[in-house]
Amino acid sequence: MSDTIQIERLHYRAGKNFEIKELDLHVPSGSIYGFLGPNGSGKTTTIRLVLGLLRPLSGRITVLGLPMPEQHARVLGRVGYVPEQPHLDSTLTVRELIDFQAAFYPTWDRVRAEELVQRFELDGGSLFGRLSKGQKAKLMILLALAQRGDLLVLDEPTDGLDPVVRRDILSALLTYVSERGATIFISSHLVHELERVCDWVAVMDNGRLITEAPMEKLKQGTKRLVVFGAPAEIVNPPFRVLTRESANGGGGENWVVGNWEPAMTSYFEGVGASVRDVIDLDLEDGFVELLRSFRKGGTGR
């Protein structure tokens, strides 16, 4: 299964204070790829690099099999992009914006566009500047979907929108994916939304990729263990210790571990400790723990 987006050893620096070093990222085609990360972690920069808006210092980016930014003209024809801030001109009306966009994409699907205009209840004559935040988001999603692209790059599409609008957008997105089998690269802060929709997850912090794994593997693999009698130093465990704190009251310790398999409880007997309980973590807790351990330990994968 080839990857829709491949980034190898990407190196980019903007000014003095921010830098992306040695970034490797693979988005399998047909997947819905969630891109998690705190503000300022380089998500938007990475997206702009993928779209050829920025020029990397070194490294290779391949989108839909073509090198970027060299082939940006051909690639962008098959990519729908929804930016974080609305990038459309506020003095044009919705109808004009749709017609403008239609002229630039050979695979433009006029029927879908009209259908989405009805569904999103957008008024063709109103100026883009006067639309509400939700309507603007809907219009940008409409433009991205109506292009019938093979890849949708969404930079916090539903951020700060009310649940109703979010629901409309998500269902329209998912309908599109199931029809066209397109790949979605979505960066968001709404972890629950990603948890529900994505089958791949990547976590990025301060310009470095912490982890990139299928959603299930990440969720199953991250557990909180209640451990008693564990020695201070543990020798190369099969799993990855993210954090290790003494539980408040009751002498045990709370561990958070990654890459966990159920069979690994036997390792603790070998070390003379006992695992009282294995608690599942949802994506949000897992994400928070990952970030904390990464920032403390600074270890990568």
């Binding site: 779209l51 050829g52 990038h87 001109d89 403008f100 239609a102």
Partner: protein, 221 residues
């Protein structure tokens, strides 16, 4: 390619509607007004001299109108892009130079309206006015000169506003440097006449602004 050009043309038309309409009205009115007042046959032999003077004074409006049209159209072409920090344009599936060419062409097409208005206005003016014997109208020559002036002005301001802030900065920097050197030379009373040199380079000869200077005479001997 045609659909893309039409799309860019529509958006450009929406942004520069006012400029084009006002420009066209002005371009149509100036020649008519310049001849109307002065072509009174009852002034007898004085008519020729008065007519030439009037045409001469009204004539200075054409280069001004041409420069204004070029400047405003260039701004109308690039202001929205600058506001959106060019992201929308850069995500469109075409090379940058092709997009810029579309913008340039769209502006050019829209500027055809005022140019046609000058041609029609001046032809009409020459036909309706009773010219004194010996004087002749040159509507086409005037319209052609106006067209070149508009396009040169448009191209200059288009290049400046299309460029990033850096290129605009460079151009302004050069101008500022020339002025500074001239002032310093003036103080140190070295007889260095940069303005004169710049003027000859730009205005006379095949300089870019040569088409602006010269005789904007709708009616001449």
């Amino acid at each position: 390619m045609i659909a893309r050009f039409r799309a860019v043309l529509n958006s450009q038309w929406k942004w520069s509607r006012l400029i084009v309409v006002l420009g066209t009205v002005a371009a149509f009115a100036i020649p008519l007004v310049s001849l109307q007042g002065a072509a009174r046959a009852d002034r007898g032999a004085l008519q020729a001299q008065e007519l030439l003077r009037a045409v001469q004074s009204w004539g200075t409006l054409y280069p001004l109108l041409a420069t204004a049209l070029g400047l405003l159209m260039a701004i109308a072409a690039w202001a929205p892009d600058h506001r959106g920090r060019h992201i929308h344009a850069l995500t469109l599936p075409l090379e940058r130079w092709r997009y810029v060419l579309l913008r340039f062409g769209a502006g050019g097409v829209l500027l055809a309206a005022p140019i046609a208005a000058v041609l029609i206005g001046s032809s009409l003016a020459v036909l309706t006015a009773t010219l004194p014997p010996g004087l002749q109208g040159y509507p086409i020559a005037l319209a052609v000169r106006f067209a070149f002036a508009v396009f040169v002005a448009y191209a200059v301001f288009f290049a400046v506003s299309a460029g990033t802030a850096r290129t605009a900065g460079i151009i302004l920097g050069v101008i500022a440097a020339v002025i500074l050197v001239q002032v310093v030379a003036g103080m140190a009373n070295i007889d260095l006449n940069l303005f004169g040199a710049a003027q000859t380079v730009l205005l006379q000869g095949p300089g870019p602004l040569a088409v602006f200077t010269g005789r904007w005479m709708l009616v001449d001997v």
